[in-house]
Symmetry: C2
């Protein structure tokens, strides 16, 4: 992250006391403000008030059995659960739906590591066929959708579509068919922008949003604070570009891709303002690693320390949501 962005985020934080004093108000003073004004535009409040729906990925939830994991989420202020990829949704979907009965948790996304950049149509078709039953299973679970990044390979390699060809084929063929299948089953595909070292194709939320809009019903986009920090210039701006197409958010530390709250750099207020402006009610889900075990880096952190860090993250994110 460059110095400019650092400064910008600090400015937002510093400004938040002022901003708190200058937030939204009832009818009376609007005209006076416009005339005398602090230069703020007349923004339309969201049609629904945003909610901070915190979420954990399956593997990171304390507890062994399904019930134990769900109990932990409910007891500690989480609203959502993100499930594993592959055929997990097909194998475990029914059991999870059963275990969720009477609980207030919703199923966010499952990740589908994918690649639709093969020049050979047969290889792309294999990818499509692989995901159709997963999408059906996600639909049955009322999951938000299947996370997809259209290309992870090097597009300049032989046997790959060019970026332009890939975009066209994904919008009109592979992505379109997956999205239509998802819409039919009441779920969606969720395009995930990654970092430049991970994908040559989709790096920014606005780009994913435009691809999703071009595809139409059943396609949406997500933002991951960790990737966004490198690839975007504004968390708030990027989320606004996603608009109503934003269906999922990943969060991690901004200095290290570990659980938020370990480093003072973990400041999400600007992004949360964007989510509030959108009236966002999707999940904000932790995806990342853990600090090293200072006693033995090879062993990983003991579970009780991980649990302490999870609760610390919940406190931190709620605090910053209130500031936003």
């Amino acid at each position: 992250m460059g110095g400019r962005r650092e400064m910008k985020r600090r400015d937002f934080l510093k400004g938040s006391a002022v901003a708190g004093a200058a937030a939204v108000c009832g009818a009376g003073q609007a005209a006076a403000q416009e005339a005398g004004g602090d230069g703020m535009p007349k923004l339309t409040p969201p049609s629904q008030k945003a909610q901070l729906n915190l979420c954990l990925q399956w593997g990171g939830i304390p507890g062994g059995e399904m019930k134990e994991k769900l109990d932990f989420l409910e007891a500690n202020g989480f609203a959502s659960v993100e499930i594993p990829s592959g055929d997990w949704p097909i194998k475990n979907g029914e059991a999870l739906v059963e275990a969720l009965k009477g609980r207030k948790l919703f199923i966010a996304t499952a990740c589908g590591p994918s690649d639709f950049s093969y020049a050979e149509p047969e290889k792309r078709e294999e990818e499509v066929q692989k995901f159709l039953p997963v999408i059906e299973a996600l639909g049955k679970m009322k999951s938000v959708g299947l996370i997809i990044c259209p290309a992870r390979g090097k597009l300049s390699e032989p046997g790959r579509l060019s970026a332009k060809e890939l975009r066209k084929d994904f919008v009109e063929n592979t992505g379109k068919r997956l999205a239509e299948h998802a819409a039919k089953h009441g779920t969606s595909i969720v395009l995930e922008p990654l970092r430049r070292n991970e994908t040559p194709f989709l790096r920014q939320v606005a780009d994913g949003a435009r691809i999703a809009a071009d595809i139409g019903p059943g396609a949406s986009v997500m933002g991951d604070f960790w990737h966004m920090q490198l690839e975007e210039t504004s968390f708030m701006g990027a989320f606004l570009c996603a608009g109503k197409l934003l269906t999922h958010v990943h969060i991690a530390g901004l200095k290290e891709r570990i659980i938020p709250g370990v480093h003072p750099e973990d400041v999400y207020v600007d992004g949360f303002r964007g989510l509030k402006l959108l009236g966002y009610r999707g999940a904000v889900s932790f995806e990342g690693g853990w600090p090293k075990n200072p006693e033995d880096p090879k062993k990983g952190l003991p579970q009780e320390e991980r649990t302490r860090l999870i609760l610390n993250m919940v406190r931190l994110l709620r605090e910053q949501w209130a500031m936003a």
Copy 2:
């Protein structure tokens, strides 16, 4: 433009009466709003109030002589002038600066049709050398900067860099050197995202902003409503992504690329809200054509009709700025 965006823009307009009633306010009610609230975030007012600085491109300004053109701009509420490309700034810079003395007009940008995507370093170097003296001339004129799109050619053709190679070379070499030269002479290079049929490389404001941020001092980005309408999902979001790096804006009709105000689709309120949030004081400059002459399509519109349409545009944009 897809149906979704249409709806979104209409919603913003419909909402503006409500939004007017729910704009910013003084200290008293902020806490109550946060608790009871309409869900609006605590946004930081811009450090300076934005201004609608209307601007025309040289060729579109009524009048033959330099003085006549500048008189027209001043008399009709324009704040800025956009100058021709090529060696015009070198040949006419001093005369223009002289003619501007005592006037309140500033010199926005000049356009530099360019291509930095050649695989041969010598060809890229030629492009750099071509623009160095133009940048110096722009600096002397206190112009905002030189508009550049890094690639117009097909990157998949032989003899071209790949998108990834071009980005790296532009950020570290060609664009970097032009930007450093610009910063040294008190001006900037202004990256312009275009449409997908015009460039395979830079289509979104957030992308241009990230490239400019990666380059550093002397690099900035612009937004053109005409291109943005196809390539972005949110005018406001895209402008927020540009942030302080936004130094220029082009505007045209949204249904046809002609002077704004001819079609009812020409609604810029959402984008203007973004400019207000940024405290933007750069130019908003008309770039586009004219409606056909209904009497003789080959002849073009008579000057008096063009002038009428310019004044109509000024009225319309001011009206929408006030609504934003």
